[in-house]
Amino acid sequence: MAEKKTKGKKKTATAEAVTESAAESQETGRTTGEGAAPTGEAKEDFQALQRRREDLALDVTRAFPDKYRISGEMEGCSDAAKIDLLERLVRTRTFDARMRRLFRQGRFEGTYYSQIGQEACDVVIAAQLEKTDFVGPSHRDLGASVGKGIPLTALAAQVYNRVDSPDGGRYTACHYWHPEYWVMQPSTSIMMNWIAATGAAFGFKMLKKKGVAVAFGGDGATAHGDFHEGCNFAGVHRLPIVYIIQNNLWAESLPLSLTTALTDLAHRADAYGFPGVTIDGNDVISVWNTTRKALQRARGGDGPTLIEMKTYRWFGHSDIDPADYRSEDEVEDWTERDPLPRYVAWLMENEVLDEERLEGIRQAIRQEVEQAVEFAEASARPEPEAFLSEVFVHEYPGFDVRAGR
């Protein structure tokens, strides 16, 4: 008991320290020397680079080349909805950057899959969904969960594998899901969610329930047979589903040119008899308008749409991957195409947003993220035996979960 108490105290103390350091880093735009001391020179460079890039990611008002300016109108999107969308984007990014740092500090086990750079692809469509619409995310879809409104506390607990994660810590970190929000639990085995979401869309149709499904996959995942089997079936049955490919040009270390001979993955839809569209996944306006139409099609009984969103993951496949197979120039270019500053600039130009309001939003979200971190760190680690349940619904005379021990 005494030991437990000490542990709890220690945890809180560290959580505070972490909070302070983060707040400081965000205010000054610099980081203090967090985490374990780097050993080699290379490691120091790597850590410094990561931090610099995270700081960049958090600076959503920074300048970018004119050619990346976005324009047009977001159809059927009120000013309030535009701001709401911004909040969800900033919430996703802030949470993501925070988790990256916590991972490097060794605050949780396993690894971390960052979505930084790709948020618009997830958040914009998820924010348009009804709570009971079905989302089939993959391993890099934090934004789908944040976009659909899952509280950050639950997501942080998932990252930490704590008892307050929706699966009580037994599944896999970063594989965000929540039953109340109808975001299914992603399967680490690539493209299972694609098929499951297709099945959910079928279920909606068969049961005559209103509802659409949205499935997310990467460029690499389009080479998997399940991509084909899912799309093909959805095409035949005109299922209420939107398929999103986040083409971030890389599948772990595999360049797009070794995944496919295509340049635009939306062409794959031609094979399934439904529309495929390629868009700039880092242009919130374009993503909004395209996904809105696709959702209308799905809801209206017109069947599936495949949307390829060109985007980029800023960091490694997971945070143990230095991603040194990519050129610095490529990464630099894509950091300039960051969806957040582009959207923020457009909102400001159109007088939907001003500096003050943005600062308010950022402050509130920073606080929300810190509270989520505190929540996760204070959430208990699961009992060692807590995974020995829920294998079956029913009891069977010969089944003994402990038979091997």
Partner: protein, 327 residues
């Protein structure tokens, strides 16, 4: 009352259960318009329409995997794999997703899915239409497997599987489809409890443990041995996963001797699991080594001469049982 075949029992039960529960749907290859390559699903399309009876493209991964999402939104899916041999493309979806989903989500979702798999040899099908590949799934937590050996259990286990909230692989033996008949009163809702083996014949000298078509060969063997004063207790496993350990142990504790008989190759087969259970749980009751009489450690051959040689038959089974009984 007319006797019906094993495949009639399956067809009738599908009709009854789909009528009873309109969240059920059937999906498989040639299951609708054609009524199934074996006609197990005949009449269902006419009865329930194309919304609930789906002629799937040749996409086994989809057939198995789509049930997960469908079940989550409230369906009770009834996928069919045309031949058990073609379940391998669906393996990932069954093993990684369907079977584990309840555990993975800490009990949030049930997966009330029944996958029907026509299996087994003796039908002149060659390697891709004859396999007994149930052992591929023995190591999968969260999966239930049943294999009816009688007409009554074909109906009873199917109904139990469909109504179960756990994912069930239902192994229907192709050689039994039209070779056995039984009187099943129409309208009787036969339910065979999942998880329980059946003592198909009582005897005190040796226990034979088997399932599927080979139950019938084993019963023949047992009759023959009875004439020589050897009384065989025959266990029809009915449920392959999780195995009914209590029933197996009870019988073998009584007879002290056991022979496991199955069509699949010996290595890694169900017989090995049963032998291990016996060695662990009733070693001191055993009066002889556990014997396994199985298929060969090869693939399944096509030519009739080879196929007949591959399949264990009543004569071989009798010889194995006698050898063990006389040990």
């Amino acid at each position: 009352m007319a006797a019906i075949t094993y495949i009639d029992a399956i067809n009738r039960t599908l009709h009854e259960e789909m009528r009873r529960d309109d969240t059920t749907f059937l999906i498989g290859e040639d299951t609708g318009i054609y009524g199934g390559v074996f006609k197990a699903t005949r009449g269902l399309l006419e009865a329930f329409g194309p919304e609930r009876v789906i002629d799937s493209p040749i996409s086994e991964s989809l057939i198995a995997g789509m049930t997960v999402g469908a079940a989550m939104v409230g369906c009770r899916p009834l996928p069919e794999i045309q031949f058990a041999d073609f379940i391998s493309p669906a393996f990932d979806q069954i093993v990684q997703q369907l079977a584990r989903y309840r555990w993975r989500t800490n009990g949030t979702y049930a997966m009330p899915v029944t996958i029907r798999c026509p299996w087994g040899g003796g039908v002149g099908g060659g390697v891709f239409h004859s396999q007994s590949n149930e052992a591929w799934f023995m190591n999968v937590p969260g999966l239930v497997m049943v294999a009816p050996s009688t007409v009554r259990d074909a109906a009873g286990l199917l109904r139990a599987a469909i109504r179960s909230d756990d994912p069930v692989l239902y192994w229907e033996h192709k050689k039994l489809y039209r070779s056995i008949k039984d009187d099943l009163p129409e309208g009787e809702e036969i339910v065979t409890e999942i998880g329980r083996a059946h003592v198909a014949r009582e005897g005190g000298d040796v226990t034979a443990i088997t399932f599927g078509y080979l139950l019938h060969e084993t019963l023949k063997a047992a009759e023959a041995l009875s004439g020589d004063g050897i009384e065989v207790e025959v266990i029809d496993l009915r449920t392959l996963l999780p195995l009914d350990t209590p029933t197996i142990l009870e019988s073998v504790s009584k007879t002290g001797k056991a022979v496991v008989i199955h069509e699949a190759p010996k290595v890694g087969g169900i017989g090995g699991e049963i032998a291990a259970i016996l060695a662990e749980e009733c070693f001191w009751e055993l009066d002889a080594p556990v014997r396994r009489l199985t298929g060969f450690n090869t693939s399944f051959p096509a030519a009739k001469t080879m196929e007949d040689y591959y399949m264990p038959n009543a004569g071989e089974i009798a010889a194995a049982l006698r050898a063990t009984a006389e040990t």
